[in-house]
């Protein structure tokens, strides 16, 4: 086999491999849409999206409660995670001495690697009992428990992208503020944070995308009742949890309705992440 032949063949092979990621994305869209069609046809998109009742035994499949569950949990998680993540990002980018940074950054990165089920387990065993005592009722499986777990899970995403954006601010801005007699915090507050604003926005949006897709840990701590999240101390169900909890037992139109849940989730996440990626690219 001549090396020219190898060169030509491998050029084509890597081209085909390169296109695979694109094809997977297209196939996901096609297959999930295809499996959703029976439910969409039979029930109609409006009834599914805006139906507040999910009774598989009566062939009633409205996902509005789950949509609300996902959104509320995610927003609450972001509210908890934001101060911590931003503080952590500023700490890593501006404040920490190198030897401390070399401990904190790997620790934050390691948080990404910890399995979702471990977060769920720790949440079940520690957080839920505490919340049960606080609220005085139930097992503690609740929106609050889910939001706290989720906050820890999105912490690394928001921290690392925010840190990147803070580091991307040109040094001359900082020097300019210092030269005018600003304290380090004033410089961060009035110069660095405004300059990194787009990047931090992107971090929050991409964190949102990640939060809304989280599944197993949510199923373990949120209680999974398909009801509106009326109180943060009560259970709810997320879109992701809806699929995970019922997939094994579902057939026919019920299964199709779960695919529709997945379709809604897929579109939602694509939208959120497209905006996040756009914001990230325009951060400079």
């Amino acid at each position: 086999m001549s090396r020219y032949f190898v060169d030509r063949v491998s050029r084509r092979v890597v081209y085909i491999f390169g296109v695979v990621a694109f094809l997977i994305l297209v196939f996901i869209a096609i297959f999930i849409l295809k499996e959703s069609l029976p439910a969409l046809k039979e029930l109609g998109i409006v009834n599914i999206l805006f139906g507040a009742k999910w009774y598989p035994s009566k062939d009633t499949f409205g996902i509005l409660t789950m949509l609300a569950g996902s959104v509320v949990t995610t927003l609450l998680a972001l509210a908890i995670a934001m101060p911590l993540a931003l503080g952590c990002a500023i700490f890593l980018a501006e404040v920490a001495p190198p030897h401390i940074r070399n401990i904190v950054r790997p620790a934050v990165e390691l948080l990404v690697g910890i399995p979702s089920v471990v977060y769920g387990l720790v949440g079940m065993l520690i957080l839920c009992p505490v919340i049960a005592r606080l609220s005085g009722t139930g097992s503690g499986s609740s929106v609050l428990a889910a939001a706290v777990v989720l906050a820890i899970m999105v912490l690394p995403t928001i921290t690392s992208i925010s840190e990147d954006s803070l580091r991307a601010v040109p040094a001359r801005y900082k020097e300019g503020a210092f030269a005018l007699g600003a304290t380090h915090w004033q410089t961060i507050h009035h110069v660095l944070l405004p300059a990194a604003r787009r990047g931090i926005t992107a971090a929050v949006i991409l964190g949102t995308g990640k939060a809304i897709g989280e599944t197993m840990a949510m199923v373990m701590v949120i209680g999974n009742s398909p009801i509106f999240p009326a109180s943060i101390f009560r259970p709810a169900r997320t879109l992701t949890g809806n699929i995970a909890v019922e997939m094994a037992s579902a057939t026919g139109i019920h299964e199709s309705a779960l695919f529709t849940t997945g379709l809604v989730l897929f579109i939602l996440v694509l939208l959120i992440n497209s905006i996040g990626l756009l914001a990230y690219r325009r951060r400079a």
């Binding site: 911590l84 404040v95 387990l121 990640k210 809304i212």
Partner: protein
């Protein structure tokens, strides 16, 4: 509105920021510490080498889960490594700067954000149903390949792009073909980054649960081939926690998971340092 002196706000801000930084480490230590202290005591050779009884009992060990996890790592990586590196080679070395390449790059980024459970649905529809692999390790592995591909592609592409242009020019000027340049110059130089990406993906296989929960069936029996169903360690933790009262076993399995993740993390760090020393000419 109280007017605070700059000196005071500086102090206040600094203590808050330090708190945030230290808190993140404490959270990590707490989670790891809790699972290890509660779980390690239940780990014994017997626990590791007997199969779980399945069903609602939660009794037994985790041998079949270890085997299923190893099978899954093996099959996933066997497909993922050539595919991911090949695709990264295309993007880093061959892709012209045009709309089509941008479309591919954009899909990779979007794909990286798609939730695991959506990959699970996709894997269920295509591998379990359409291709008749049923609930199996193979279906789970193929689903994971789709899930992890964007991560491996990105880390491998970044590593290749970091190889200086003059290395490419030197090889081409010596009469190497483009492919020879890739294989003999770019891949070796990018190896530390690629290996880091691969180890992270192995960690992803170990940690992943949602998409496997709907593609591998969750049988507690010992897998006999890659067409058997099965449950990985992570999925086993979920079953134990949700369907049984064996929370001690769930914690023990969680501890095994944490140890695996920590080991992979250390391997990654060690390898990248080792390679860096080698590349900078010391050896």
């Amino acid at each position: 509105m109280i007017n605070l002196s700059p000196k005071f706000t500086q102090k206040l801000a600094w203590s808050s920021i330090w708190t945030a930084g230290v808190a993140s480490v404490l959270i990590l230590l707490f989670i790891i510490g809790y699972v290890l202290t509660k779980g390690l005591s239940a780990i014994s050779p017997e626990f590791l080498f007997t199969a779980p009884e399945g069903g609602l009992s939660g009794e037994g060990g985790i041998s079949s889960c270890i085997v299923a996890t190893l099978w899954l790592i093996l099959i996933t990586m066997a497909i993922l490594i050539p595919l991911g590196i090949g695709a990264a080679i295309y993007l880093a070395e061959y892709a012209p700067d045009n709309k089509f390449s941008r479309l591919i790059r954009y899909s990779v980024e979007l794909l990286a954000g798609v939730p695991s459970i959506v990959f699970g649905l996709f894997g269920f529809a295509i591998f379990v149903l359409a291709l008749h692999f049923n609930y199996s390790i193979l279906a789970g592995a193929l689903t994971l390949v789709c899930l992890l591909l964007p991560f491996l592609m990105r880390s491998a592409e970044e590593a290749m792009k970091a190889v200086p242009q003059y290395q490419r020019e030197a090889a081409l000027a010596l009469g190497a073909t483009k492919w020879q340049t890739v294989v003999h110059v770019i891949l070796p130089a990018a190896m530390p980054g690629i290996i880091t990406g691969i180890t992270l993906c192995v960690g992803g296989v170990v940690a992943e649960s949602a998409c496997l929960y709907v593609t591998m069936g969750g049988s507690a029996a010992m897998p006999t081939s890659f067409l058997s169903g099965g449950r990985t360690l992570a999925v086993h933790v979920f079953y134990l926690a949700m369907e049984t009262n064996a929370l001690d076993k769930a914690l023990a399995t969680g501890a095994v998971l944490i140890i695996l993740i920590l080991i992979l993390n250390f391997i990654t760090r060690w390898l990248s340092q080792h390679f860096q020393a080698k590349m900078s000419g010391g050896i």
